[in-house]
Amino acid sequence: MTLKSLKNFPNKLFFIFILFTNSAKADWFALNMTRGVTDISNEVFELHMLIFWICVAIGVVVFSVMFYSMYAHTKKKNPVAATFHENTKIEIAWTIIPFLILIAMAIPASKTLVSIYDDEAGDVNIQVTGYQWKWQYRYLEDDISFFANPATDLDEIYNLVPKGENYLQEVDEMVLIPVGKKIRFLITANDVIHSWWMPAFAIKQDAIPGFVNTAWTIVDKPGIYRGKCTELCGKNHGFMPIVVKVVEQDEYDEWVGEKKEAAFKMAELTTKDWSVEELVSRGEDVYALNCVACHQTAGQGIPGIFPALAGSDIALNNKARHIEILMEGVQGAAMNSFDYLSEVELAAVITYTRQAWGNAESGDGEIVIPKDIVDYKKPKI
């Protein structure tokens, strides 16, 4: 038990109390796979139940014979054992019958599998990229791109406040898709292997750096659907939810319009005159979303794994290298390129880390403005 969690012990007792009084929220009846909301997910559910009942039937037959013999053929009831020890006919039978049952299972399973495999382009094509520990979505036709960050508060995770209904299943920005349209997901990753799982669509595809996997779906029922990352991807693997909102076409179109406008405004910000305070305040938010998981809240990092930023020589005195690390990443280390952030976000977060935790006082205190990033991106001669 860490010191921090000891200090919170009274809160924990309070939490345990809440958990027990509030247990209607938890679910004793969450026992089975759900049907989901697509044709494929229904097919998969039927297949799952079919195999399940076949297994139950085999189990009942086989174990009845076994339990019967445990009951009827004890030493007390049957002092002298029979002497048979082989029977060719029955041995052939119990090799061939299971084989036939397996064929009966394999036929519907293969059919479903073939229908899942379809590489045709969709009406909407979304590139999904896994990062440690968030998902990025790019709408290929509309040039929209955003990150869906986990939105559950740390205080909920550390039991300081009661947990919300969608604990660990909420993000700051949902993926919107239109109802009834064929959506194709192109799934990849930026750092380690992740896996994009949406149970309601029966989609689970690994997100692998250097590969693009595809999956598709057509959802006929508007609603909010929740899933999770299902491949161990490091420290916060358990905190990497996926939320998809399925909406009517006009609501979708409206949303696309808003996103495009927001992107335009963001681009305008690049040319604005920025004060240190504005950059630091914006940078603090960027830091909280992108950096804090490894470099920690006070910039202290985790010794041996993630280097400290507070008091780091680069953050104190080497502005050029600081920009370069964020743009290019560090070869052979967990630090990846963050060039997918906007110029404003990059300038703000670099300025923030050069100003916070006493770095400004111990170092040169130089700030970075969006133009510096634009200059860095210009082709070098």
Binding site: H48, I58, P79, A82, T95, H237, G238, I305
Partner: protein
């Protein structure tokens, strides 16, 4: 060689050396078997303690006891220690004790290598466990150590992990070679291949599997080492490498590995069911053929662990069908065990209780395995608690119950003392209840959508996780009780007869209890 032993037989009958040197320098198969068994028991308790930490953290939603980084280290070490430190050395220990006595041989064929293959193991696990105290912590990428999480993104201790896996691999390969050479060359006259006890058969096949796949594992970790320290890019996409290649190599080792952990159990359970049913094993030849076909099939099903990595349709279909095929020989084995019990004259001593629980619960693990083989359904099951429930059903009430059954069954022969039957039965029932309360609800939470390897979970999974944790604590405590029973039996107890069990067959029951330090220095006569 045997001529030399016979010349000195009368005037040179020595017992074990005294003190620590007996265990350090021993080349005696019984001593080395004992070392292996105690070592695996120690690892079982350490790996079990880690499981307790995991289940304590998962008792409730939210982070309570440990941090996510440490949680990942726990799941990684729990898996590695249970597989390479618990189950595998326990089976090697049983093979050391039993194979020479079962085939009427005086010892293992390569006794000095036998000593070496045991004594490098403690160092491997010392290195692995010491990584807990290194800067950056122990390996935290799961026992399957998928690249690039285990290469570019790994803590510095990964290098020690690689070294320790190499040592474990060398130990396993030497142990396996020793067993193959012993079985092929040292059977007493008259013990033909198709007359060998099934435990010997199961180990002969297991040893070949080990020789075939441990070098593949060594190759995988060596490629990791190159990627980490020598600038290669086997698994690094940015350098033109392929992260999926790692998974193909790993599972080409990994799938035969799961059969390495279950085939010896098949052998053990066959002996125990036969003994306590007082009836000859049904279908001996088909048992041997079933094990051989399972072993061969194990090389062509590896990608069923990788259904979601984006394989082409043809590969998914092939690996689905091949995997389903394994159900046929496995079914044959279960039917044979039941046919052996049928119209037998059954008693329910502790080994038999464990063996019967093995048949029932292993079969349930087999059913969930069949469900996992169905590729479209696997898209929903993959990497959820349903998989955790499945492989724990085949490994805990599967492999580990068979090891416990074996200990109760043969410990009178090893120590000369009977274990306390009342305590043994109590241990069985506590373990049986504990294992089911722990792992059965994990099917539910997996199907309901809880991923594996997460330190925290959404609220709808809270109830069954709490039940599972309670079961785990019960199971954990009952194994401390098991330790007590074993020590009590070693210290004393009712004297065992040579035959020990009324229905027992086989050469090991023809020697005295406890088995003398040297047995079968002259080969037994087989009719």
């Amino acid at each position: 060689m045997s001529a030399v032993i016979e010349n000195h037989h009368e005037d040179h009958h020595h017992g074990p050396a005294k003190g620590l040197s007996r265990w350090l320098y021993t080349t005696n198969h019984k001593d080395i078997g004992t070392l292996y068994l105690w070592f695996s028991f120690a690892m079982f308790l350490i790996g079990g303690a880690m499981a307790m930490v995991i289940r304590a953290e998962l008792f409730q939603p939210g982070m309570q006891i440990i941090e996510p980084e440490f949680y990942n280290q726990m799941i990684t070490l729990h898996g590695l220690i249970m597989i390479f430190g618990g189950v595998m050395p326990a089976f090697v220990g049983l093979a050391n004790w039993l194979v020479p006595m079962m085939i009427g041989a005086p010892d293992m064929a390569l006794p000095r290598m036998n000593n070496l293959s045991f004594w490098i193991l403690p160092f491997a696990f010392f290195i692995l466990l010491s990584s807990l105290f290194m800067e950056g912590g122990a390996p935290n990428f799961g026992w399957t150590f998928y690249a690039p999480l285990s290469t570019t993104y790994a803590p510095p201790s990964v290098t020690f992990f690689i070294f320790s896996v190499h040592i474990m691999g060398a130990s396993s390969i030497m142990g396996a070679i020793n067993i193959v050479v012993t079985i092929m060359n040292m059977r007493a006259p008259g013990v033909g291949l198709m007359k060998m006890p099934l435990f010997v058969w199961s180990w002969l096949i297991t040893a070949y599997l080990l020789i075939a796949v441990m070098p593949v594992l060594a190759g995988a970790v060596t490629m990791m080492l190159m990627d980490i320290h020598f600038g290669t890019s086997f698994f690094n996409a940015a350098g033109g490498g392929d992260p999926v290649l790692f998974q193909h190599i790993f599972w080409f080792f990994g799938h035969p590995e799961v059969y390495i952990m279950i085939l010896p159990a098949f052998g053990i359970v066959s002996h125990i069911i036969e003994t306590f049913s007082r009836k000859q094993l049904f279908g001996y030849a088909s048992m041997v053929w079933a094990m051989l076909s399972i072993a061969i099939l194990s090389f062509v099903v590896w990608a069923h662990h990788m259904f979601t990595v984006g394989l082409p349709l043809a590969a998914e279909l092939f690996f689905m069908w091949a995997t389903m095929l394994i159900a046929v020989p496995t079914g044959v084995k279960v039917f044979n065990w039941i046919a052996t019990m049928f119209r037998g004259s059954i008693t329910f001593e502790t080994p038999m209780l464990f063996a019967i629980a093995f048949v029932v619960l292993f079969t349930m693990g087999g059913f969930s395995g069949l469900m996992l083989a169905i590729t479209p359904a696997d898209f929903q099951y993959h990497d959820t608690y349903f998989v955790v429930a499945h492989f724990h059903y085949v490994l805990v009430p599967g492999a580990i119950f068979s090891i416990m059954a074996a200990v109760y069954y043969w410990i009178p022969k090893w120590t000369g003392n009977m274990y306390d039957e009342r305590l043994g039965k109590l241990h069985f029932w506590l373990s049986f209840i504990g294992v089911n309360v722990t792992f059965f609800p994990q099917h539910f939470i997996g199907l309901a959508g809880m991923p594996r390897r997460v330190p925290d979970y959404a609220l709808q999974f809270a109830d069954w996780n709490m039940v599972s944790s309670v079961g785990a604590f019960l199971f954990g405590l009952s194994q401390v009780f098991f330790l007590f029973i074993v020590i009590k039996t070693v210290m004393g107890g009712k004297k065992a007869t040579d035959q020990v069990w009324e229905g027992a067959r086989g050469l090991e029951w023809t020697v005295a209890s406890p088995a003398p330090y040297h047995t079968f220095t002259t080969p037994p006569k087989i009719d």
